[in-house]
C-alpha cells in the first residue's frame, strides 16, 4: 500500500494463478478444444504464453475426416457446428503439432476421444511419455460404435467404464469433459469422479438443429449439430453450479464465455478455471482481453487472489 492524494493505493497486482489437479496455471483462462486448432493457427494474433493452459483440438487414434459441409451455421447469439471431430490423428499430432506447442511455457492439455473403449485407452497410453503433454482432457460425448452408438457420456455406467480404463493407463492429470445432453448431469459427474477423473470440465455443446425454410433442408449436412456461443451461457452456468455441488474434484467451466464478466460468473459458482470457445472465432485475441479484464476486475474489487473469489456465490 502507498499513499496517493491521501488515498491508499494497492501497488501489487492481483494473483490470477490457480491450480487444477496438480497443473499450475498462471491464470484460469484456456481455450476450449476445437476452437483453437493446434494452437499454431492463433499464434500470429495471441501470445500463447499468456494463456493459463493450451487445449488442443480433439485427437483420435487414427486421422478423422469429419463431416460433409455445410458444417456450421449461425443462430441467435450462437452457432451450430457439426465438424465431425476432423483431426490429424495422434501420431501426426505428436510428430508435427506438439513440438510447436512445446515451445511455450503454458501447460499443454491434449483433448482426445475414441469411438470404442479400446481407442480411448490406446490414445491415452500413447500420450503417456510424450514430452510437453501436461494433462489430458477426455471428450466422452462420442458414440460407442460397439454399443449401438450410445454416447459414452450420456450413460453413467459407460462413462464410468471408459474413464476407469483410461485412468489405469495414464499418470497425467485427467480431465473429463461432460456432455450437457443428459437428464441429470450430477449423475455422470459423480460417476466419472468415482472412476478416477482428476477434474471435470463442462459443458460440451448442446445438441441443436436449424432449418432453411425455403429449401426445407437442415442447415447442417449432418442435420444435428452442437450449439455454442453466448446463447448457451446461462445453461452452462447452471450446470457448472450443480456439478460443483455434487463433486469434490475441481471443475472447469465452459459455455458462451466471451468477456471477463462471463468468466467471473463461472468462477463465482465454483469453477476453478474456464475455457473460452466460440469467442476465439469472433476475436482471436479474446482470451488475452479476458485475462486483462479479470485482473482489472480483481484490482477494482480489492481481490488480491482470484482463488478468494472462486466458489463465493451468495445464494
Amino acid at each position: 500500500m502507498s499513499e496517493l492524494n491521501g488515498q491508499s493505493v494497492k501497488l501489487t497486482r492481483p494473483k490470477l494463478a490457480v491450480e487444477i489437479a496438480g497443473l499450475k496455471l498462471k491464470n484460469p483462462v484456456m481455450p476450449a478444444s476445437g476452437t483453437f486448432g493446434y494452437g499454431e493457427e492463433y499464434a500470429p494474433y495471441l501470445d500463447l504464453n499468456q494463456l493459463g493452459a493450451i487445449v488442443t483440438k480433439g485427437l483420435s487414434l487414427n486421422p478423422k475426416a469429419g463431416n460433409p459441409t455445410p458444417r456450421i451455421c449461425e443462430t441467435v447469439s450462437g452457432m451450430l457446428n457439426a465438424i465431425g471431430l476432423q483431426n490429424v490423428g495422434i501420431e501426426d499430432f505428436i510428430k508435427h503439432k506438439m513440438p510447436f506447442l512445446d515451445q511455450y511455457n503454458s501447460p499443454v492439455i491434449v483433448n482426445f476421444f475414441g469411438n470404442t473403449l479400446e481407442e480411448y485407452v490406446e490414445v491415452a497410453a500413447r500420450l503417456e511419455d510424450v514430452p510437453g503433454v501436461a494433462g489430458l482432457e477426455m471428450n466422452i460425448s462420442c458414440p460407442n460404435v460397439k454399443q449401438g452408438g450410445i454416447v459414452f457420456g450420456t450413460e453413467a455406467s459407460a462413462a464410468s467404464a471408459v474413464v476407469s480404463q483410461v485412468r489405469k493407463k495414464t499418470s497425467k492429470p485427467l480431465i473429463v469433459k461432460l456432455t450437457p445432453n443428459v437428464t441429470d448431469i450430477r449423475v455422470t459427474a459423480k460417476a466419472v469422479e468415482d472412476a478416477g477423473a482428476d477434474a471435470i470440465s463442462l459443458i460440451n455443446t448442446l445438441t441443436g438443429m436449424a432449418v432453411d425454410v425455403k429449401t426445407r433442408k437442415p442447415r447442417l449436412a449432418n442435420t444435428i449439430g452442437g450449439l455454442s456461443g453466448p446463447a448457451i451461457r446461462p445453461i452452462a452456468v447452471r450446470l457448472v453450479h450443480q456439478v460443483v455441488q455434487a463433486v469434490d474434484v475441481p471443475v472447469i467451466g465452459i459455455g458462451g464465455i466471451s468477456r471477463a464478466i462471463d468468466a467471473l460468473e463461472f468462477l463465482i459458482v465454483g469453477a476453478k478455471a474456464v475455457q473460452v470457445g466460440t469467442a476465439n472465432f469472433v476475436d482471436p485475441n479474446a482470451m488475452a482481453t479476458i485475462i486483462d479484464d479479470l485482473e482489472e476486475f480483481c484490482q477494482n474489487e480489492g481481490i488480491d487472489d482470484i482463488n478468494d473469489l472462486i466458489g463465493t456465490l451468495d445464494a
Binding site: T35, I72, N81
Partner: protein, 285 residues
Amino acid sequence: MKNHKTIILSNQEISPGYYRMRILAPEYNKLAQPGQFVMFRVQRSLPPLLRRPFGIFRVGYAAPDCDGMPQKEFVELIYKVVGSGTEIMQDLHQGDRVELLGPLGRGFDLGDPDEEKILVGGGIGLVPLYMLAEKLVANSNVRLLMGGRTRDDIITVTEFERLGVGTYVSTEDGSLGEEGLVTQVLERKLKKYPNAQVYACGPMPMIDAVQKICAAHSTPLQVSLEALMACGVGACLGCVVKGAGHSEENPQYLCTCKQGPVFQAEQLDWNRLENQSGDCGGCGV
C-alpha cells in the same frame, strides 16, 4: 495479418442491393494480395455473432482531411445484401467502428505474362478479380467476362475498363450486354485465345461450368471459392472443400480460408464440389 479496430470511411449503394464500403486499413497496401479476404465485424455488436468473410475489392490511399496530414490508407469491400449480417452492414455510416481481421488466405497466382488472361466474374464474384486485374494489366492482355441475372448484378465494369481491361457483359434476362450465361462467352473466347489462363469467381454452378469448359480446352484455371466460415484462420474447419485426392478411406479436406480461397482447379475434387455448400450468397451469410 492482423486484427484492426478501425472505422468506416464510406458505405454507399452502387447498384440495387450492392454496397461499396471503404474502411481505414493501415498496412493493407503493402500486405494485401489479389484474391485475399478479410473477416469483418461490427464492433460491439451482437448479433451477428460471427464475423463475415469478404473478398478485398481493392486497396488504396485517400486524400487526408487537411493538408499536412498523412494520406488515409484504405481497403474497399463490395457486398451484396443477402442476410442478417449484410442487412446490418448496409445501415453503417462513416465513422462507425468495425473490426477487420486480415488480409487472409492464399490469393491468385499471376501466371505467365505471355498468356492471355481471362477473368470470369458472376455477380458479386467479381470482387476479388479487380485487384488481380490491376496487377495483370502491367504485363498481359486481360479480358473480363462479367455475368449476372439482370443489369443490377453488373457492377464496377467501367472501373475494369479504366484499367485497360477488355470487358464482355452478359445477363440472363438480356437487360444489359449479351443475353445468356457468361459461360457461353467463355466458350467463344477460349476458341479464339487458346493460350489463356482463366480466373473465376462466382456462384457454384457457374464455377462448375467454367471448370468443365476449361478442362475441355486444357486451359489452366484458378477459382476463388466462397464458404461459410467461423474463424477465417484455419481453426474451426467449417469451410473445408474436398481436395482432388479425396476418398472416404483417405480423406483430404482443404480449408477455404487458409489453403484457399483461391485454388488451382486441379487441387479440387470436382465430382463432389457442386454438392458442397460454399454458397453464402456472395460472402455475407
